[in-house]
């Protein structure tokens, strides 16, 4: 049977996707409410600052340790646990600025060894290596 000749419905453009930088909800968007200026609650500002700066220091510490762990991983064999029970191993190369992707080489996959590959961090559940 001959398929009837058809033209695909034209579209003005594709739906816009996330901008990859922010979480969206643009303040100048159509539904943006006028945000009332919340009067600063100045109760114990010094105590608040101290708790905040403590947290900030702890966070900076943890971040530094994490970045150093990434440096220690360079060139090493790393085992990754991915979603759906998949395990792969590879030599770690580098990560990008947001740690969104891992650049690896000699990726051992169930369907063969990939010389160079990018692993999406959102696909990784955990990874382990011996320094």
């Amino acid at each position: 049977m001959q398929t009837p000749l058809t033209i695909p419905v034209p579209v003005l453009r594709l739906p816009r996707g996330p901008d990859g930088l922010s979480r969206g909800f643009a303040p100048d968007g159509r539904r943006a409410p006028l945000k009332p200026e919340v009067p600063g609650i100045q109760e114990c500002p010094i105590a608040q600052e101290s708790a905040e700066s403590q947290e900030q220091r702890a966070r900076a510490n943890l971040r530094e340790r994490y970045l150093r762990s990434l440096l220690a991983m360079v060139g090493r064999q790393v085992s990754f646990t991915l979603h759906e029970g998949v395990h792969v191993a590879a030599h770690f190369g580098a990560t990008d600025l947001d740690v969104a992707n891992f650049y690896v080489s000699q990726l051992q996959t169930p369907i063969g060894v990939q010389a160079e590959a990018l692993l999406r961090c959102s696909d990784i559940i955990s990874y382990t290596f011996k320094p």
Binding site: T6, V9, V11, G17, R23, A26
Partner: protein, 350 residues
């Protein structure tokens, strides 16, 4: 010249899309929220699929998502054992409601004052959103994890589905009114307030029951296992999708299969009609949402119909008497000159 469906693909999620919901029609149009296993539910403009924002905060896969009627609030149910309520205008998290197990489903009442949740702990919970610190009211009775829970009959009753049963509860007395048993796993449930219709899918069946009495109205069989189905607001059509990656559109009155579309690269987990019935959205294992026109070729949202007689060069006018022109050549002519920027994967009726 017959028009072929051009689905609009909304990308952005990195893992399977497991649930989606539309808001009601608001002065700003209507909105769409999608729940994803990547833990980052997204809000989109309903008629175009344009991304508005991502609700950040969950620490696990988001299994259920819903919007209130005027799309000012959103609620999400996640594998991190919490349900969260969000400001859908600013994207800010308003409340985190701790549960004892994975939360699968959330639903607002019409007035947005109460939130119904259900999940793997087999309990239905009703939270008073004006008193978030107060303990929720709990309804027990399910013997397996709750997959979907919905308010019905003007929020006076609750419908809930677990693996093999659908139960109707009275809100005031918190007791079970009636239940339905299935020998196959219930995959989805939709409640249509106008007409009090309940749409239930299980196996390859798409069944319609009265939401008041749970009595069966009718049911259809699809060619493959169906994961979700939706009834058109005017009850002329229904759409369904499932394990064969295809979307089916049926005439509700006759049960005749009208259209079917390939396009997704994985099983379809959820499908819903928009509140105005002009389009339907599908969410898939492939991580995308697709918007489909109910009436193919109509000008609506991003779809722009150009009638052959009045084209201004946007669509190439096929010359009369071209029996030897292959369909591929015609497609090329059409795509080079039209606004259609999709690569044409053949999506004709199977």
């Amino acid at each position: 010249m017959a028009m072929r469906q051009t689905p609009l693909t909304c990308s952005g999620h990195t893992r399977p899309v497991v649930d989606l919901a539309f808001s009601g029609i608001t002065p700003y149009g209507y909105f769409l929220i999608s729940a994803c296993k990547d833990g980052k539910p997204m809000l989109r403009q309903g008629d175009t699929g344009d991304w508005i924002g991502t609700f950040l905060g969950h620490k696990g896969a988001v299994w259920g998502a819903t919007l209130n009627k005027d799309a000012t609030k959103a609620a999400t149910a996640a594998a991190d054992f919490t349900a969260k309520v969000w400001d859908a205008v600013s994207g800010d998290e308003l409340m985190t409601l701790a549960h004892k197990h994975i939360v699968k489903t959330v639903d607002f009442t019409q007035d947005s004052n109460y939130l119904l949740t259900g999940g793997q702990d087999k309990l239905l919970r009703i939270y008073d959103l004006n008193k978030p610190e107060a303990e929720p009211k709990e309804i027990s009775g399910h013997t397996s994890g709750i997959k979907k829970a919905l308010w019905c009959s003007e929020d006076k009753q609750i419908l809930s589905a677990d693996d093999k049963t659908v139960r109707l509860w009275d809100h005031a007395t918190m007791t079970e009114v009636k239940s339905l048993n299935f020998n196959m796993s219930v995959s989805s449930m939709e409640y249509i307030p106008e007409g009090e219709i309940l749409v239930i899918t299980y196996g390859r069946s798409i069944a319609f029951h009265s939401a008041v009495s749970l009595d069966p109205i009718k049911s259809f069989e699809a060619p493959a296992t169906i994961n979700s189905a939706s009834l058109h607001p005017e009850k002329e059509f229904l759409v369904a999708g499932g394990e064969d990656f295809k979307l089916y559109k049926y005439d509700y009155n006759s049960g005749e299969e009208l259209e079917s579309y390939k396009g997704h690269f994985g099983p379809i987990h959820c499908v819903r009609f928009s509140p105005d019935g002009e389009l339907y959205a599908s969410g898939s294992e492939d991580g995308t949402l697709r918007l489909w026109q109910t009436v193919v070729g109509k000008t609506y949202g991003l779809w722009k119909c150009v009638l052959p007689e009045e084209d201004s060069g946007e669509l190439a006018k096929p010359k009369i008497g071209f029996p030897e022109t292959a369909e591929e050549e015609l497609e090329e002519i059409a795509s080079e000159n039209s606004d259609s920027i999709y690569s044409s994967t053949p999506e004709v009726k199977a």
